[in-house]
C-alpha cells in the first residue's frame, strides 16, 4: 500500500458519525475516500460550504462549487453554502469537530508549523491558523520524516501556525498522541520497530503500555 494511502486510511478511523470535518489540501483530502462504512461525516470547506461530496467528474464541473484549493467538487444532499465570514465563524466558533492537516513540523508540546519555510517564498497561512485554533480536535496526517530529516521535534524551528493545538499525529510509521507528558506512541505500523520510529523522531517518545499495530485492512 502507498504510504499516503496508508496514512489516509488510518486517519479516517478517527472520524465519528456526525462529525463536522475539515480536511487540508493534499494527503488529508484523501481521507475522504476512506471514511468507514456506516459513518457519515460532514465535510466543510473553508471557502464557504458544508457537505462536500466527491471531486467533480471531468466534463461535469459545476463552476459554482469549488473547494478551498480551487478544485471543482460536488455536494451531498443537505449541503449548504455561506460567505467567508460565516465560514470562519463555524471554524473559529468551535463548530468543526476534527480538522486533519499536513505539517512541516510538530513538536512535543503540540506546537504546529505548517505554513512557511524560512527563506523560501511565503505562500501565506490561508485558513490554517484559524482551523487549528478553532477545531475541537487537530490531527496531523503526514509522512514521518521529510526525506529522512525529522519533522516531529523537541521544538519547532519554523514559524508556528499555532501553539499547543495538535492532538494526534498519524504517519506512515505510527500514531502519536500529544499528552501533557509529551508525545506518546500508541500505535505502530506493521513491520516497523519502536526503535525505528524513535530514530525517525526528533524528540523522545513515550511508548504506550498498550502499544498496538495499526490495522487499516
Amino acid at each position: 500500500m502507498d504510504k499516503k494511502e496508508f496514512i489516509a486510511k488510518r486517519a479516517a478511523q478517527e472520524l465519528k458519525h456526525g462529525d463536522v470535518v475539515n480536511l487540508g489540501i493534499g494527503l488529508p483530502t484523501m481521507v475522504a475516500n476512506h471514511v468507514p462504512k456506516g459513518i457519515k461525516v460532514l465535510l466543510q470547506s473553508e471557502n464557504g460550504l458544508i457537505g462536500v461530496g466527491a471531486t467533480a467528474e471531468p466534463g461535469k464541473e459545476n463552476p459554482y462549487i469549488t473547494n478551498a484549493g480551487g478544485g471543482y467538487i460536488t455536494v451531498i444532499p443537505g449541503a449548504s453554502f455561506f460567505h467567508s465570514a460565516d465560514s470562519f465563524g463555524i471554524i473559529r466558533g468551535g463548530h468543526v469537530d476534527v480538522t486533519i492537516l499536513g505539517a512541516l513540523q510538530v513538536d512535543k508540546k503540540g506546537n504546529l508549523a505548517n505554513w512557511m519555510v524560512p527563506n523560501k517564498k511565503v505562500p501565506g497561512m490561508g485558513g490554517a491558523m484559524d482551523l487549528v485554533v478553532g477545531a475541537k480536535r487537530v490531527i496531523i496526517a503526514m509522512e514521518h520524516t521529510a526525506k529522512g530529516s525529522h519533522k516531529i521535534l523537541e521544538e519547532c524551528t519554523f514559524p508556528l501556525t499555532a501553539v499547543e493545538v495538535v492532538d494526534m499525529i498519524i504517519t506512515d510509521m505510527g500514531v502519536i498522541e500529544v499528552t501533557d507528558k509529551g508525545l506518546e506512541l500508541i500505535e505502530i505500523a506493521p513491520g516497523v520497530t519502536v526503535e525505528e520510529v524513535q530514530a525517525a523522531t526528533g524528540c523522545e517518545l513515550i511508548i504506550s503500555d498498550n502499544l498496538k499495530v495499526i490495522n487499516v485492512a
Binding site: Y64, G70, G124, M129
Partner: protein, 221 residues
C-alpha cells in the same frame, strides 16, 4: 434607481491611492470583467489591494500588479500569484498577511461599524507582532482592526437593476462581505434582471450595498 452601467464608466470611480477590495476565492467568483476594465480603462495607481489570494497567474490582478500600480497587498494566501510573493520578498512591509478568518472578519467589521475585535487566531505566531494581546476567561486573544475599502469589485450570479444580488454556491466567499465594506461597490453580474424577478429569499447581498452593476463577460462561476 437603475444602477446598470458600463465597465468603462464604473472603473472611473477608482482613484490613485485607493484601497480596493477584490472579491472571489482563487478563480471562484472573481470579478474578472471589472478587473479587465481597470487594466484597459483606468490609470489609477498606488493602489492597496485587499483580496483573499490576489488570484492566480492566469487571472487579471497579477497583470495590474505587473503594471506597477499596486503598492500594498492585504491577503491570506498568495501562493498562486508569484508577483505578490515577489513583492513580499522585496519589501516585507508591502504585503500584510492575515489569517483567512481574521481577514474575513476584519472586512465584515469594516462593513458593520465594528472598529476592532479579539480573536484567538494567531496567538504565539508572527501574526501577533505589534498587536495587543489580552486574556478573556483564561484564553489569549489578539486585537484585530477592521478593514474598509474606498471601492469594492465583486461578482454575482444574478443581479437585479437595483443591485439585489444572488451569489450561487461557493461564489459567495469574500464577495458577500466586501460588498458591505466599501464606499463604492461595483458588481459584475452574469445575468441582470428586472427588480422583483429575484426571489426575496435568494438575495445574498441587498441592493442597498451596490452602487454600480455591469454585465459580466466571464465564464460562469
Amino acid at each position: 434607481m437603475n444602477k446598470v452601467t458600463t465597465v468603462k464608466e464604473a472603473v472611473q470611480r477608482l482613484k490613485s491611492g485607493d484601497t480596493v477590495l477584490i472579491g472571489g476565492f482563487l478563480q471562484s467568483g472573481a470579478p474578472e470583467t471589472i478587473l479587465q476594465g481597470v487594466l484597459n480603462y483606468s490609470d489609477a495607481k498606488d493602489l492597496t489591494i485587499v483580496s483573499n489570494d490576489t488570484g492566480t497567474s492566469e487571472m487579471t490582478t497579477i497583470k495590474i500588479m505587473q503594471q506597477g500600480r499596486v503598492k500594498k497587498v492585504i491577503a491570506s494566501y498568495i501562493g498562486a500569484n508569484p508577483v505578490t510573493g515577489q513583492m513580499l520578498m522585496d519589501n516585507p512591509e508591502s504585503v500584510e498577511l492575515s489569517p483567512q478568518g481574521t481577514l474575513a472578519e476584519r472586512i465584515r467589521c469594516g462593513g458593520a461599524g465594528i472598529a476592532a475585535f479579539y480573536t484567538p487566531v494567531g496567538v504565539g505566531t508572527i501574526v501577533e507582532k505589534g498587536k495587543e494581546k489580552r486574556t478573556f476567561n483564561g484564553v489569549d486573544y489578539l486585537l484585530e482592526t477592521n478593514i474598509r475599502g474606498n471601492i469594492a469589485f465583486i461578482k454575482a450570479t444574478i443581479a437585479d437593476k437595483e443591485g439585489n444580488c444572488f451569489l450561487k454556491g461557493s461564489t459567495k466567499n469574500f464577495n458577500a462581505i466586501m460588498a458591505r465594506a466599501a464606499d463604492y461597490v461595483v458588481v459584475e453580474a452574469e445575468q441582470i434582471v428586472e427588480v422583483g424577478e429575484l426571489d426575496h429569499e435568494l438575495v445574498t447581498i441587498p441592493g442597498l450595498f451596490i452602487d454600480a452593476i455591469v454585465q459580466s463577460e466571464g465564464q460562469n462561476g
